[in-house]
């Protein structure tokens, strides 16, 4: 078992998993905000676009989407970089979940805050940017944190299109050593450690953002 843990290819694979998570999270983030904002638009057609994106890409498993990008699109004349197929599938999928989080958080900001922004004559874009979003973002963080871990777990599917992530490296190691159970147990622990590290980071960000919401605790009030 020790030779499995010490295998450098597993560590390389873990690094690829972390990178993939970050790329996909960046894409998901970039999609979540515009489509989440579309969900609270005053215009029905804008809301419909948001709804469509969310329903389709939440309904599609990332694996199905990834296979489609990887195997099917090239036949329709569009060849994607392997890495891009994985990141695009994960990003589109988690972007749809994220859009729902963004929409939910924006709707959770009390309506009176929006009204105060109108009463101060802020323009529609300013109401969102200066009043709603700063209050909504701290509400999104806990769910975003959980979704980041979900996304990290989901990256394991890229091994199926031969991106050399942790799962792919484990498959390689299994076929060279024949120790299937041991190899997969070891990488389960590695995934677990990555997940816990990500959660710690998110909790830290949550604590910081609580302050921006003005939820200053007793020591702050004493200043």
């Amino acid at each position: 078992m020790w030779d499995v843990i010490e295998a450098p290819i597993l560590w390389q694979g873990a690094w690829v998993t972390v990178q993939l998570t970050l790329y996909s999270a960046a894409l998901a983030f970039a999609l979540a905000f515009p489509f989440g904002l579309a969900g609270i638009s005053r215009h029905a057609w804008v809301r419909a676009i948001g709804r469509f994106y969310v329903e389709v890409f939440r309904g599609l498993p990332a694996l199905v989407l990834m296979f489609w990008f990887f195997y099917s699109l090239p036949l329709a004349g569009l060849r994607l970089e392997t890495l891009f197929a994985g990141v695009a599938a994960l990003g589109l999928n988690y972007g749809a979940y994220g859009a729902e989080v963004v929409r939910g958080a924006l709707k959770a900001v009390p309506k009176t805050q929006f009204e105060a922004a109108v009463a101060l004559n802020l323009r529609p874009a300013q109401r969102v940017r200066r009043v709603l979003l700063p209050q909504a973002v701290p509400l999104m963080l806990p769910t975003f944190g959980n979704q980041l871990v979900e996304l990290m777990k989901a990256t394991a599917i890229v091994s199926l299109i031969s991106i050399s992530d942790l799962m792919f490296r484990a498959q390689q190691l299994r076929s060279s050593t024949g120790e299937g159970a041991a190899v997969f147990l070891v990488i389960l622990v590695m995934y677990f450690v990555i997940a816990q590290a990500m959660l710690l980071l998110v909790r830290y960000l949550e604590r910081r953002s609580e302050r921006t919401l003005g939820r200053v605790r007793a020591e702050g009030a004493a200043r």
């Binding site: 009176t112 805050q113 009204e115 105060a116 109108v118 009463a119 101060l120 004559n121 802020l122 323009r123 529609p124 300013q126 200066r130 009043v131 700063p134 209050q135 921006t212 919401l213 003005g214 939820r215 200053v216 702050g220 009030a221």
Partner: protein
């Protein structure tokens, strides 16, 4: 009118418009709240709306602040309609741009203060002047500090709303509304959410502001003494219409309508 202290300098002066409601209709899901509401407020006049709770007084203020849309009728601020635009002699629904222009004249103080919890007190006061009126940051901050001084919170500029008492938050909200240099100020039950011991302080502040400015003031309140104090005229509102109006002395001492008498009796009994 004797502006007794320097703070009067930050209050808006001149160019005050009047307000006119013309057969305004508004209902919520089949429940008619305003049934052809008519009334006029002269420029610089201070008017209080009284009447049974939950009958739509707040709706009148919200319509003026464009937080609600009227189902019918016209609302005028000065010589321009809030409810429609003039497009080649024809009425057209108001654009966001038109509403933006109209809102420049109006400020509102809410029952629940509605301060922005993510901003310091000072930024609550400077955010809109900087980003809507285009004031420079220094200019806005300076005015904000003067306003905070006027409402008695000079030391709280860097505090967060959550660190203030209800009374202090409402003072900040009043200052925030004034920071936009409105000509019309709407007060929506501004002391209803306050602890009893904080009510008088906020009322005194508003009375001073009313005396030292020529703001057109429209106020909804359940505090009859405050209504008596602050207003030139009182409107008794019930069942979607104004049922009686007059100077406060007349309404409170010799109401003509039975409904007004019943209402005042009920309110004063508590």
């Amino acid at each position: 009118m004797e502006p007794s202290d320097a703070s009067a300098g930050v209050l808006p002066k001149g160019g005050t418009p009047g307000i006119r409601f013309d057969k305004v209709v508004k209902s919520y899901g089949g429940n008619a709240v305003l049934r052809g509401l008519d009334f006029t407020i002269a420029p610089g006049e201070r008017v209080t709306l009284i009447g049974p709770s939950g009958c739509g007084k707040t709706t009148i203020l919200r319509l003026l602040m464009t937080l609600e849309k009227a189902d019918g009728g016209d609302i005028w601020i000065g010589d321009r309609a809030l409810t429609h635009m003039d497009k080649g002699g024809k009425k057209a629904p108001p654009s966001e741009k038109h509403l933006h222009e109209m809102r420049k004249q109006v400020g509102m103080v809410f029952q629940q203060f509605n301060l922005f919890p993510n901003m310091s007190v000072l930024r609550n006061l400077t955010e809109a002047p900087v980003h809507v009126l285009g004031d420079s940051k220094d200019e806005a901050a300076e005015r904000a500090r003067e306003l905070l001084e006027m409402v008695g919170l000079a030391g709280k500029a860097d505090a967060h709303p959550s660190q203030l008492s209800g009374g202090q938050q409402q003072r900040v909200a009043i200052a925030r509304a004034l920071a936009m240099r409105p000509k019309v100020l709407l007060l929506d039950e501004v002391t209803s959410a306050l602890d009893p011991e904080l009510v008088v302080g906020v009322q005194d502040l508003l009375r001073d502001i009313a005396r030292q400015s020529d703001l057109t003031l429209l106020c909804v309140t359940h505090e009859m003494n405050f209504a008596k104090d602050i207003s030139d005229r009182v409107l008794m509102f019930a069942e979607g219409r104004i049922v009686e109006e007059g100077p406060p002395e007349q309404i409170f001492s010799a109401p003509a309508e039975q409904r007004t008498r019943d209402f005042l009796q009920a309110v004063l009994a508590t």
